[in-house]
Structures are given as C-alpha cells and as structure tokens.
Amino acid sequence: MTRLLYAIVVGLVGAGVVHAVVLLLLPHYSARDAWARLSGSADFYRFTRMSGEDEPPVIRGIDPFFDAVACRFDLSEGVVHVEAPGHVPFWSVSVYDRRGQNIYSLNDRAQTLGDLDLVLVTPSQMIELRKDVPKEFEKSVFVEADVGQGIIAVRSFVPDATWKQAVAGYLDNAQCTLR
C-alpha cells in the first residue's frame, strides 16, 4: 500500500514535469495552429481568406463585421512587399511570427496617403536597402522584423452588407510579393 502511495506521489511530480513540457512544446508542434491552417489553403506569398461566408473559417475568432486575408512569407528568401490600393472604411495590418505571436501592427491612420504599402525586412536587409532605396519602395512604410517565416494579416471593416463587395474587391487586389 505504501508502495502504491509512493507511486502516486512520484506520478504527481511527473505530471508537473509533463505539464511544463507539453506547455512549452505545444506552440512548436501544434498541427492546428494558424500557420498549419493557412498552409492548407494557400502557398507562400498568396493572400487567402481567413474566414468565409459558408465554409468553416480557416482562422477562428474573426469579427463577423470584418473581411480578412492572410499570407505566409519567408524573409530568408527576400523582402516582402504588401500593397493594397483603394479606400475602405478601415484597414489594419498585423505581422505574426511562425507561432502566431503578433510582432507588429498598424492601421490606416498610420499611412498618410491612406493606401496600404508596407515592406517587411530583417534588420540586415534594412541596412542593404538603406544604401539605395528602390523606386517601388519610395512611398512604403518599412517594418523591421527579426523573424524568418511568418504571417501577414490584413483586416478590413465591413460596416454593412452594401460594403461587402467593395471591401472584398479591395482585399482581392491586395498583393503579398517577394522582392
């Protein structure tokens, strides 16, 4: 009997260790995190809808008053240029790392001309770019992120049904390009 009690106590200590290990490994091995879900619906550098009208959403918890797209990138291949011309009531952009941690976000008030034009670079790519800024990046906002792979999400507000088509068209025209 004491042997069994001893075993349970050892087991409980072990449970604490398992708890910590599972907790720390979960973000690295989750098969249904945002990255895994997005990989299933689109390749790198392609914007894809995060939630649809009828099909189950790719990313959960998206506000029903929003239309949102996301693209995956890999900064080790080059800089990422995100553009979306046109005017909508509200847009916002978030940059996430491979594990879905938000690194950077901005909204339409941050860009003077109102058009979304953002270049995502690593600090070392930024040093190279500073020497000679290419013409296509003249009006861009530069975002430095020290990540390899990651996700860029663009969200846009749909105040009512009459805006649905305009906002969907705006996001359809959004580009996520490797440069």
Binding site: P27, M50, S92
Partner: protein, 193 residues
C-alpha cells in the same frame, strides 16, 4: 515482479494523464493568462504579443487564432451576465452603458466554438457603432433577445450557451497606460423564453 511493475505503471499513468489533462484544463479556462477583467468582460491584451506568458502562447497555438495587434484593437468577451449566470441564446439581455474611446466598435454573439450566431433573415447577430442609436450623453443601450425589440436589437437565435464579444478598434485602451481605467457596459438579464 508484479510488485515492481505495478507502482511504475501507476506512476507513469498519473504523470502522463495528469500532465496532459492539466494543460488542457488550464488552456480551456484561461489559466495563466494576463486577463483584464471589467465586470463580466474579459480581454487578453498580451495575447499574441512577445510579452505573452507560456500559457498564452500555447493557447494561441491550440486555438489556431491570430489575435488582434495593439494598433488594430482589443476584443472583450463576456461569458456571463452581471449576476454571474452564463449567457443563454434564448434569453433577453440589456447591455447598457458608455463605450470606451475607440474609432468604432462591434458587438456580436458567438457560440462556444467562437463561430458567430446565424443571422435572422437580414438581421445579423451583431451590431456596430455607426448603425446604433446613441443616447444624448453618448451611452448605448442594446437589447440582445430572440424577440424583436425597439431600439438597438441584437437578434439572437437558437438555444444553448453563447458568448458576447465587444470588439474595440483603433482604441487607446489597447496601449498599457490606459488599460486599468476602462469602463464597459453592464449586462443584465431581463428574462428568458
């Protein structure tokens, strides 16, 4: 032989089952997250940021969410009414009070899996700030009910538990300095059925 194998087996079983279950329970109940609680409303301002705890990181991976960034906004969730009773889809609730500073807000009902409740005809189970009636002092009164009501009606449908989500967009309260002084509307149950 058996006297050695059995205790080892019991210890391993307790460790693995107990460890796995406790992680699941913790993540499902928001344990270990830096929760901002205002009345019945809860938000996780650190969720998905570099300052997030190990529990918050694991919760993001498990739920497959991409949480709003600080420049985007902050989402509050209410699982209960002001008296602590769980929110039900077949009950009538009054959500009244002033909204915090934000460029706009959305208020909508979701089921426990975070999917928005189905629309009733052209009436979505949600409202947004530019399409609601405000009182002269800026306060808002919304009635969430399965039955049509005058004023701001948030149309509910079906039965079972629900969660109310208040999304505040481009709001200064998402930045840490303002976060402790947030006032949100109260939720009170008016009746069921």
């Amino acid at each position: 032989m058996f006297r050695i194998v059995l205790p080892v087996f019991v210890a391993l079983l307790v460790a693995i089952v107990g460890g796995a279950w406790s992680v699941r329970y913790a993540l499902d109940h928001g344990f270990g997250m830096d929760t901002l609680t205002v009345g019945p409303w809860q938000a996780y301002p650190d969720l998905g940021t570099p300052g997030a705890s190990a529990y918050a990181r694991a919760a993001v991976a498990r739920r497959g969410e991409l949480p709003l960034g600080r420049a985007e906004g902050l989402a509050f969730r209410a699982f209960e009414d002001g008296s602590g009773a769980p929110l039900e889809r077949n009950c009538t609730y009054r959500i009244a009070g002033e909204m915090p500073t934000a460029r706009f807000w959305t208020l909508y009902a979701v089921d426990p899996s975070m999917s928005p409740l189905p629309a009733r005809g052209i009436r979505a189970a949600g409202l947004q700030s530019s399409a609601v009636l405000h009182e002269t002092n800026g306060a808002v009164t919304v009635t969430a009910s399965p039955n049509p009501t005058p004023g701001n009606w948030l149309a509910l449908d079906g039965t079972g538990r629900m969660i109310l989500v208040l999304g505040l967009y481009d709001t200064p309260i998402a930045s840490a300095t303002e976060i402790s002084r947030v006032v949100l509307p109260r939720i009170s149950k008016l009746g069921c059925g």
